[in-house]
Amino acid sequence: MPDHGLGNEAPGEPAAALDVAAICRRHGDDPANLIEILHEVQRQTGHVPEALLPAIATALNLSRAEVHGVVSFYHDFRRAPAGRVVVKLCRAEACQSVGALALIDAICRERGVALGETSADGVTIEPVYCLGNCALGPAALVNDRLVGRLTPERLEAAVAEADGRGPGR
């Protein structure tokens, strides 16, 4: 799977080691590229650390409030690191029509988490509203891998594969 840089990867470098100024420079220090810059920060650190926002604001000549406003507006940007594997479970209408809500309840119960939380074994379970796989629901995104006709077993296999615990096909 190619690296699309969508921030679903496990956290890599510690935030302190990240050269934010260099990332902003690569994006022309252009405020129009703020979202791209935040995607890149999250790709490298697994989240968007609060401590980095002032440096981004300075590089782009924005106020800290403006940067904070963008980070907090978009669901994708994490304020804290996620688990090793991020599972996004679709709870939009098409998946609901084939039992997604009951399935999500069962998955959360099994892992002992609520939506948005990370289980003890490092799997973050989040809601998502449509993955564009509406004819093969219920659907999930496991890191960057789309899984259709989701069952607890198929999810477990995909998580194991994403976690490097064997082929999950």
Binding site: H4, L34, D76, S97, V98, Y129, L131, G132, N133, A135
Partner: protein, 530 residues
């Protein structure tokens, strides 16, 4: 001579194991010394048959599906490379009724070609539209699009040619073409399929829009939930630049146009055009008040063509074949074809491109084969989460902009989400408000507060508290949201809510029926809401 085998790389096909099937075919061919050429195409859009494997035998494509990796050895054993019979054999792909009964113009090449093979693209009619446009005056290109009757496929249905003409006539130092690929509506996947299965068509449509409007810069705003589409379209742009189809001199026209991708960050509202423009400028995706319209003051305040993926991807066909040919399809003021998407609880879900005027029943029963569960049909939601629900009595309505509007429904982006008789429409109405609550940009009060109050009030109704009084409150709220919201998010959320209440009143009066599974489902829903 090697045998050509097609295994889709469309995300939906991958979601049910296409990668493992491709690996197994490669391995099995190597083990048997069979000489094959494996092409990774887009999906034909028959998702119940995915992974759908095709083999070229005697110049025809034969289909097998749905193929699991464990079926591959058996397929080789049965001689599928020479068209051998097998339990999964479906015959010539083009003869499959689901495909044979479609009118594929926009989707003519999706699932047929290698999405990133430019020679294949040209051999199948690609670039003919752009070549023609490059030799035309801008006003003449716009005239063809206007004459074709093409309307915006993103949901609003605004005539594309009129929008283009406004941008063409606007004076500015720079103009833009922005493609809205923030396909967030549940029940829709046509944009994703097209970007993964025939990305060059979208680039061609955008380049034509650039030549017609005088824009020199294009952006495709793709949602982050679509990593495969982002990767494929990104590669397609690189290939087009290398081929001189983008850049300072588009296909020898002497005019400049280039395209970049911008990735969204998980906000449904950014599918609204002015929110998308804000997001493209690196800001919070908050709706802008109109006027001014984007065609006058859009991205960075410049005149901007904003069109959906399907609108732009239809333009090359119109330029290549003429406005008259396109206009010959459709009915009334809805000209041409619409890529409909059959989703949810439906036996044969997928992409059905048909001329406007096909009935909902033709789509759900004829193409879709009814519910996947085998339970009776109860409702379908047309046009995504902001679209109306229809019941069994409305299935003979024609799918076109005007007929649906006259029946308090809408076409939207062409998605149809099917529900069987286990659906609780009270819960669906509650969810419509909940979704608006989660995704509202927060700029205007009717949407931001109305969604919360709406959800709370529906919850009271479902709990049996002062039902009639609270139904009146919901109706009041809906009226306010329709009249007072800045954009379609708040303005259309009442559509699913009101249609659910109007068509399925029994689901809002818990005492009036004793359907135990719905009641237990409702208890679970109420628990999840807390």
């Amino acid at each position: 001579m090697s045998t050509t085998v097609y295994v889709p790389r469309d995300a939906a096909a991958l979601s049910v194991g296409a990668e493992a099937v491709a690996d197994a075919i490669r391995a099995e061919a190597a083990a048997r010394g069979a000489d094959i050429r494996l092409v990774r195409n887009g999906s034909r859009g028959m998702f119940w048959l995915e992974p759908l494997v095709e083999v070229v035998v005697g110049g025809r494509r034969l289909a097998y599906g749905p193929v699991a990796a464990t079926d591959v050895a058996g397929l080789f054993e049965a001689g599928f490379l020479t068209g051998g019979t097998h339990a999964l054999a479906l015959g010539p792909t083009e003869e499959i009724a689901y495909l044979r009964h479609q009118e594929r113009l926009t989707f003519a090449r999706v699932g047929v070609i290698d999405p990133l093979d430019l020679a294949d693209y040209e051999a199948q009619g690609g670039l003919a539209g752009l070549r023609r446009a490059a030799a035309m005056a801008a006003a003449d290109i716009v005239a063809v699009v206007t004459e074709s009757g093409l309307r915006g496929r993103g949901g609003a249905g605004f005539p594309a040619g009129i929008k283009w003409e406004t941008v063409r006539k606007a004076e500015a130092d720079r103009k833009y073409v922005c493609c809205n690929a923030d396909e967030g509506d549940s029940g829709t996947f046509a944009d994703r399929m097209l970007m993964e299965g025939d990305p060059f068509t979208l680039l061609e449509g955008m380049a034509i829009a650039g030549l017609a409007s005088g824009a020199t810069r294009g952006y495709v705003y793709i949602r982050s939930e679509y990593p495969h589409a982002i990767a494929t379209l990104g590669r397609a742009i690189v290939l087009w630049r290398e081929a001189g189809l983008l850049g300072d001199d588009v296909i020898g026209s002497g005019r400049a146009f280039d395209i970049d991708i911008r990735v969204g960050a998980g906000a449904y509202i950014c599918g609204e055009e002015s929110s998308m423009l804000e997001s493209l400028e690196g800001k919070r995706g908050q709706v802008r008040a109109k006027p001014p319209i984007p065609a006058i003051a859009g991205l960075f305040g410049r005149p901007t063509v904003v069109n959906n993926v399907l609108t732009l991807a239809t333009v090359p066909w119109i330029l290549a074949n003429g406005a008259e040919a396109y206009k010959a399809f459709g009915m009334g003021r809805s000209r041409g074809t619409q890529p409909f998407q059959l989703a949810g609880n439906v036996k044969r879900g997928g992409l059905v491109e048909k001329a406007f005027g096909v009935t909902i029943r033709d789509l759900i029963e004829g193409f879709g084969g009814g519910t996947a569960s085998g339970q009776p049909f109860r409702a379908a939601q047309l046009g995504g989460p902001l679209g109306a629900y229809v019941d069994a009595d409305m299935l003979d309505l024609a799918m076109d902009y005007e007929t649906l509007a006259a029946n308090q429904a809408m076409l939207g982006h062409g998605g149809i989400t099917v529900f069987d008789d286990t659906v609780d429409m009270g819960r669906m109405a509650r969810f419509a408000f909940e979704f608006c609550e989660i995704e509202s940009c927060g700029k205007c009060t009717p949407c931001r507060v109305g969604a919360v109050r709406g959800r709370e009030t529906v919850e009271k109704i479902l709990a049996g508290i002062e039902i009639e009084r609270n139904l009146a409150v919901v109706e009041d709220l809906c009226e306010l949201m329709v009249d007072g919201s800045l954009c379609a998010m708040g303005g259309l959320t009442p559509m699913p809510v009101r249609s659910a209440i109007r068509l399925f009143p029994e689901d809002f009066h818990p005492d009036s029926h004793s359907d135990s599974h719905r009641d237990s489902g409702r208890a679970a829903g109420a628990a999840a809401a807390e």
